[in-house]
Symmetry: C2
Subunit: 324 residues, 2 copies
């Protein structure tokens, strides 16, 4: 129950459990990696849930596949449209391919080439827009109306939230109860779904969302309990440039999330390269948000058991030269 | 039995099994990763044994730790010396730290900075030499004599070979019998140890070593059944610049290995980036040799079950800009 509105919350643990059942054998059950070096550095027992190893390279596949699999036959026949800065695009494209649903994706003209290519590679039609001058939601809605497509939103949808929550379900099933769960946060689909699952499966756990400092809208919304908005924040965490949390995710975050943290781009890059050099895993900037909060000491987790969601690994190697 | 010399072979499966027992709980049991994309591309079922996730970032920890743990108390008290282009250095340094044995490491002045730093970080004394003008073996032997240290060779030692073979033991135990096992090859410690284990645990398996084309001494030695030598080959696979196979590894290779393959630096780089971008794992050039042979079609493995050893992940991110 949402205590502010007295309405039932839009997603429950039963929804996450249903999503987990649907995703079994379709999504990868990604491994939870550990590192003695990280444990020594943080004084905690840390488990990294590697959604960078997920199909299409990010957790987004979970929510997109679950949302598409719940469409009616008529909706599936007509097709879907999605707008995304990257990973949700590939997720809907791949889910569409697997379920035989035609997908149209609205992507910004500054999306990483690796994400544009992969989306087209999954057989989706890509429509490019300008992030500064055009509104992606408006374009998607226009297409939806003109072509009778169903819009699959990147985070603000009960099925999408339920699907993303299965990452936390698997992690806790695989490694046992945790004291903290750190989760990257853009529009809040992953953190809200994971917090629902975590609170149910590991009572007393503290689920914490992590945003880039330049795009701290959810952190400010969480503190003020009023939805705050940010416009095209300047951060390398391209998956967390969302304007705000959503109508579905915001009440879920207020209810289930223990705290929100932020990290600067400099801290983010340092952690991303640490994960590359020490753990040998390729993580995209947004995917390293939660790890950065832990590695940069934003949370004192000494003596605790900590889950960290590594949310994605789709980074252009060529753009690395810019970061280094 | 070595059919050429009528002498018993220097390492047997029992030695690998003994090493596996000693390494249990000390070395990481690294995961075997799979990729639908790779399976589709090769037409095979492929299992990547991720020794880039091994302690200190490469399989070398296995052999070094096993060799050091077999020293007498007197030898342990005096310390050890090793020469290495990189990963063996870190391996001996870390094994020394864990076992309380002082380690002196002779490293070339062009070794990647990340490897020099890591070696010193494990508390070893590093002695730098020039690859063009000095002989590392001679320097190490001089130090051994002067300071009464035990030399831990990088590959040509029964305990080192037995230790490296445990990578194949784990892989086959975890994923079941295989038709092929592809293994990077420098001096032959990893391929000979792995071939011994593979032939024992998966009868009929074809163990295949992979070298850089510029440093194809073992391939030529294998074909001619006579030890061939190469001098400072020009390849980005810095771990496979060894002059030749050794007195211990060469007869083992002739007896246990099914075939040898080579890949060019261009093929190697392409595969290394493919592993980074598609599988999200950081692999060093030498570590990608076996994967490159498969991905570049040097072996037709269609319909088969293929093990691929990813041998290490210690690559300087800064040097990447050079490769890209």
């Amino acid at each position: 129950m949402d205590t502010a509105t007295n309405q039932p919350l839009p997603v429950s643990y039963a929804d996450v459990a249903a999503a987990a059942k649907k995703l079994e054998g379709v999504a990868h059950r990604t491994p939870a990696l550990t590192s003695r070096t990280v444990d020594e550095r943080t004084g905690a027992k840390v488990y990294f849930k590697c959604e960078n190893f997920q199909r299409m390279g990010a957790f987004k596949f979970r929510g997109a596949y679950y949302a598409l699999s719940n469409l009616s036959d008529e909706q599936k026949r007509r097709g879907v449209v999605a707008y995304s800065s990257g990973n949700h695009a590939q997720a809907v494209a791949l889910a569409g391919k697997l379920l035989g649903v035609k997908a149209v994706i609205v992507m910004p003209d500054d999306a990483p080439a690796v994400k544009l290519d992969a989306t087209r590679g999954y057989g989706a039609e890509v429509i490019i827009y300008n992030r500064e001058t055009q509104d992606r939601e408006q374009i998607a809605c226009g297409l939806a109306e003109k072509r009778s497509l169903t819009v699959i939103p990147p985070f603000d949808h009960p099925y999408v939230v339920a699907g993303q929550g299965t990452a936390a379900t698997e992690l806790i099933e695989d490694v046992g109860p945790l004291d903290y769960l750190l989760v990257p946060c853009g529009g809040g689909g992953l953190i809200s779904g994971c917090a629902i699952a975590a609170n149910h499966l590991s009572p007393g756990i503290k689920a914490i969302g992590v945003e880039p400092a330049a795009g701290d809208d959810v952190t400010r919304s969480f503190r003020t309990k009023t939805l705050q908005i940010v416009h095209n924040p300047d951060t390398i965490a391209d998956g967390a440039r969302t304007h705000s949390a959503g109508k579905i995710t915001f009440p879920l975050i207020l209810h289930h999330v223990h705290d929100m943290l932020t990290v600067t781009d400099e801290e983010l890059l340092r952690s991303m390269f640490y994960l590359w050099e020490r753990m040998k895993i390729v993580v995209e900037p947004t995917g390293a948000l939660a790890a950065a909060a832990l590695l940069e000491g934003k949370l004192d987790a000494r003596g605790g058991r900590v889950g960290v969601i590594i949310s994605g690994g789709n980074v252009d190697l060529k753009s690395l030269t810019r970061f280094i």
